[in-house]
Amino acid sequence: MKWNHSILINSLLVIAILFTSWSCEDDENAVIDRNYQLVWEDNFDGPAGTLPDAAKWTYDIGIGPGNDGWGNQELQYYTDRPENVSLDGAGNLAITARRESYAGRAFTSARINTKGVFDQAYGRFEARLKMPWGPGIWPAFWMLGSNINEVPWPQCGEIDIMEYRGQQPNLVHGSVHGPGYSGGAAITKSFGFTNDRFDVDFHVFAIEWGKDYIDYYVDENLYQRIKPEDVPGEWVYDHPFFIILNVAVGGNYVGFPTTQTPFPQQMLVDYVKIYQESN
């Protein structure tokens, strides 16, 4: 999720994705059983307009420690106001990006995390999400290594379970960023619909993470497995990570919102569930 490379590289990546042939062959799917035990969840039940459970979530506020839009030239100011992050009363958390002048920025939004509250190495990490839409909208469900304060990014590791660009509402992306393969050089893959979009219905986004693999799912579709031999650097996915949910506006990865981008835009989170594998 942290991108320090040029827009050009990102653009090339996008083009590469788009021009890759769309597979029409049936997968040779095999059903495998993994036994998971639920260890942490938030279903976001509660009255509309209230903040999410303070025992589970903390906030990233502002424009990032480097005053650089969280390393990505993002345009929003993150707040912990209900206008930007609150329960919708229907069992969802709404993270709302708004076009409003606030603290010197033209947009506001929110970014919540479980840093210092909950983290875990390995297991299944899933969220049921409905995407916002419009050019320049960049929601994500992702994780950072909990040791980030001692071991700076990208050495701490980053697992992006789901990223999405509002101008490509039928595509999502799963990635890892580590030493030697971060930013534009991240290991990433996209999953797309030919005749549907991620902003009209909820979908489940998940990874299943073990010692030597990370499997990426959309609903019941496994679309990517990353193994140590797939990364050109060190495999750093062997320690606890914490969870982040956010909606960014603008930035290197997604480009600027346009005058045609409708605001406000909401990512709805039905639930977040974390499992541990048990046998």
């Binding site: 059983d33 998971y36 549907d196 902003d199 579709n221």
Partner: protein, 783 residues
């Protein structure tokens, strides 16, 4: 313990960047319900699909469209559109529609898509579907389509496909030149598709505005500004204009206002109703709140006719006087809610204001010098309660010596009127001494009149300044209408317009009590019978009127209750004809001579009038109709316009340099004969037997910095005449001209009468529509 079973694919991805899809790539329509109409999606792939027809729009260059096998996006051919240069004699724009004779069932699709490119970057005015050259009930318009030299895919979302069970309008387009220059664009692979990636339908009526409209019973209001907006696969919103048939309109109170399926609101009774609409299941943004005042209450009788002599009056609005130029009777200043209407009460012109909080009336272009006047007069009528503290206010503004607003020399004063001066449902005449307007220091450059107060409904008449103490006359203040008959068809007894037969005795002594005199009325010699009992007129010699058909008379009286006119032949044989008195202003009568039978028309010797009162008479003559020559040609040139040439864009005038290359008679299939004739040495445009007639300007004109369209027109026999200005689309709007005319009519039509329909930045044609023979001159824009 939760046991989750998941399908997992074997890790045999085609490439590292392959994208998996949830469904098969082959689109299947098998799930569509059986339909009685074909579900063919393709419109144009490499050729016309079965049953597809093409028709060019009227006024367009019909050869603009062709199939091109050289340039194509895919396959063997594309559609090529050669947009003509502005002023192309074969048609000034490219436009047409592709339609089928048998409808198609398009309910399984969500968009019309196509690929397009152009010989240069350009913006295509209009593309869409649903135009079937008929009702076009489900028309959808996408405006301002930007194309460039690369092929790009374009998507026109279907607002509600469930409506398209048998659609014939497959595709249409309309495009004019860019900056006057033609170019070429190509369109390929036109097909309906089920994309599935068009989301978030939204809808709007009235452009999304919540309008509040004051209305009254019988009024019809149109719900326009219908839009459907979708989020495209690119994440960008796109709006299309959708026909009313896609929407479901509803009224919150159908006893106050109903709304038709085409979005026409009919106001039925007093009350409040809110009209809203849905597009499918989506509530449309925007609404029309109708505040209906119910049945209109207005005056049934005209205001009292003024009796002040015309010489002592400066009139802004009255049938009794010649009125000075008033620029506008409703300046529509900010926060003013007033709407103005022109209507007649028993043949007398009246102005009506509705929702009057305040209204500006301006005569700034020719300010009024009322220095010699003593009073301001206005007649008002209101249906509204006039209980205290309800007030009606009159504000006069003088612009001072500089003649323009501000500059430190303006002065003004407002006076307020309440009960008992104000009375409901009666004409109230206010005669206000100008000295009461104490703050109105000067009145040599009066420029504004502002009416305001607590009466939302006010009818006004007879707005004038006058000098009190002047001679009050009981006679007419304006001359009788000048006759327009060709003098060759006339035997005139008494008229300034014709040579009268010589030697007539207007006061033979037949023992009558009537006093006969001849008096000037507005400079026109007029015959006056005072205290009529009876009165003869003796011709110098016997008069043969046997080849004449009518006797014409103009007469004026405000105190006669009986008046007959007689023709007399030897015997004496005499027959009366009864005239309707008293008159409201000048009455003109054309009496068929057959009414005077058995009088010998070949041997007339005398006239006689009998009755009572004081009678003014003018233009007593015999004439014949037929031969087509009677008064059908103007005898004078149209007035020469006096606008500064720098402020004029002239189409047809001897007074200015006209736009070069204008085609005054384009072949639009009309029946009208067009010619140019010299009237008193002035070149004049003549439409004979008008049905409709176009004018194609030599080049498209940007008239957006002009304020008015000026026209001089003259017609003796037209009963309908509309003028249109047209921008490519075609986007045209009519303005109705009052016909027939009495002499030349000069009109300055505010260009706002044509907006926003017509793009004033790109006017390329005129059109006249109606009937009769029309003389036209000085067709020009000015500011």
């Amino acid at each position: 313990m939760k046991n989750i079973k998941l399908k997992i694919s074997t890790y045999t991805l085609c490439t590292a960047l392959a994208i998996f899809t949830m469904v098969s790539c082959e689109r299947s329509l098998d799930e569509l319900e059986p339909a009685s109409f074909p579900t063919t999606a393709e419109v144009f792939i490499d050729a016309f699909t079965e049953g597809l027809n093409y028709g060019a729009f009227g006024g367009s260059k019909v050869t603009a469209f062709d199939v091109d096998s050289e340039v194509k996006y895919k396959g063997s051919a594309s559609m090529k559109f050669a947009v003509p240069d502005a002023g192309d004699p074969q048609g000034a724009y490219a436009g047409g529609a592709y339609f089928t004779s048998v409808g198609r069932d398009l309910t399984g699709y969500d968009a019309l898509t196509f690929w397009a490119k152009a010989s240069k970057s350009a913006t295509i005015d209009v593309v869409g579907f649903g135009n079937d050259f008929g009702e076009s009930k489900h028309q959808v318009i996408l405006r301002g389509v930007q194309v460039n030299t690369n092929w790009q895919k374009y998507i026109i979302p279907i607002p509600d496909a469930s409506k398209l069970t048998q659609e014939k309008g497959m595709f249409f387009y309309s495009e004019g030149s860019e900056e006057g220059l033609g170019y070429t664009f190509w369109i390929d692979e036109v097909t309906f598709e089920k994309l599935g990636t068009i989301a978030h339908p939204r809808a709007a009526i009235l452009e999304g505005q919540d309008q509040v409209i004051s209305a009254e019973t019988g009024q019809n209001l149109n719900i326009g500004g219908l839009k459907a907006t979708f989020n495209m696969p690119s994440g960008v919103d796109q709006s299309v204009e959708a026909a009313p048939a896609y929407f479901t309109f509803s009224s919150s109170n159908t006893s106050v206002a109903s709304v038709s399926s085409t979005g026409v609101v009919s106001v039925i009774s007093a009350g409040i109703a809110v009209v809203t609409a849905k597009l499918g299941e989506v509530d449309a943004v925007g609404s029309m709140t109708i505040n209906s005042t119910g049945q209109t209450v207005g005056p049934q009788t005209p205001a009292p006719t003024p009796t002040i002599g015309a010489d002592s009056v400066i009139s802004l609005f009255s049938n009794a006087y010649n009125n000075v130029t008033v620029d506008t009777w409703n300046t529509r200043w900010q926060f003013s809610t007033a709407e103005d209407f022109d209507l007649q009460v028993a043949g007398n012109d009246v102005k009506r204001y509705r929702d009057l909080n305040f209204v500006g009336i301006e005569f700034t272009s020719q300010t009024i010098n009322a220095s010699a006047m003593t009073h301001f007069h206005i007649d008002i009528w209101t249906p509204d309660p006039t209980d205290l503290p309800a007030a009606f206010r009159v504000l006069l503004v003088d612009f001072g010596a500089n003649g323009t607003f501000d500059g430190g020399d303006d002065s003004s004063h407002e006076l307020s009127f309440t009960r008992p001066t104000l009375v409901s449902e009666q004409w109230v005449s206010l005669d206000i001494p100008l000295s009461n307007f104490t703050g109105l220091v000067n009145r040599a450059h009066l420029a504004q009149l502002v009416l305001s107060g607590d009466l939302p409904n006010v009818y006004i008449d007879n707005v004038y300044f006058y000098k009190a103490g002047a001679v009050v006359t009981t006679g007419p203040t304006v001359a009788a209408p000048t006759p327009t008959r060709n003098s060759a068809d006339v035997i005139s007894i008494f008229s300034n317009t014709y040579t009268n037969i010589p030697g007539t005795d207007f006061n033979p002594d037949w023992g009558q009590a009537t006093v006969v005199s001849q008096v000037p009325v507005a400079g026109n010699n007029t015959l006056l019978y005072s205290g009529l009992n009876y009165q003869g007129t003796q011709f110098a010699s016997n008069l043969d009127a046997s080849d004449m058909t009518h006797l014409h008379l103009d007469f004026w009286t405000n105190n006669s209750s009986s008046l007959n006119v007689f023709l007399i032949s030897p015997g004496p044989v005499e027959t009366p004809f009864t005239l309707s008195v008293p008159t409201s202003g000048w009455a003109s009568v054309d009496i068929p001579l057959t009414n005077f039978s058995p009088v010998d028309l070949a041997n007339l010797i005398q006239f006689k009038f009998d009755g009572n009162g004081d009678i003014y008479l003018d233009n007593i003559y015999f004439y014949k109709t037929g031969g087509g020559s009677g008064g059908t040609t103007p005898t004078t040139a149209a007035p020469t316009p006096t606008f500064n040439a720098a402020n004029v864009i002239s189409v047809f005038s001897d007074a200015y340099t006209n736009i070069a290359g204008t085609n005054l008679n384009p072949g639009w299939g009309q029946a009208t004969q067009v010619s140019q004739v010299a009237i008193a040495g002035n070149n004049t445009l003549l439409y004979t037997g008008l049905n409709y007639q176009g004018i194609e300007l030599g080049s498209s004109q940007n008239v957006s910095n002009m304020t008015h369209l000026h026209l001089d027109f003259w017609t003796a026999n037209s009963t309908q005449l509309n003028v249109f200005i047209i921008s490519p689309g075609p986007a045209e709007k009519l303005f109705s001209l009052t016909v027939p005319t009495s002499g030349w009519t000069s009109i300055d039509i505010p260009l706002t009468a044509f907006t926003p329909t017509v793009n004033l930045a790109n006017v390329f044609q005129f059109k006249f529509e109606g009937n009769g023979n029309i003389y036209l001159d000085n067709i020009l824009f000015h500011n």
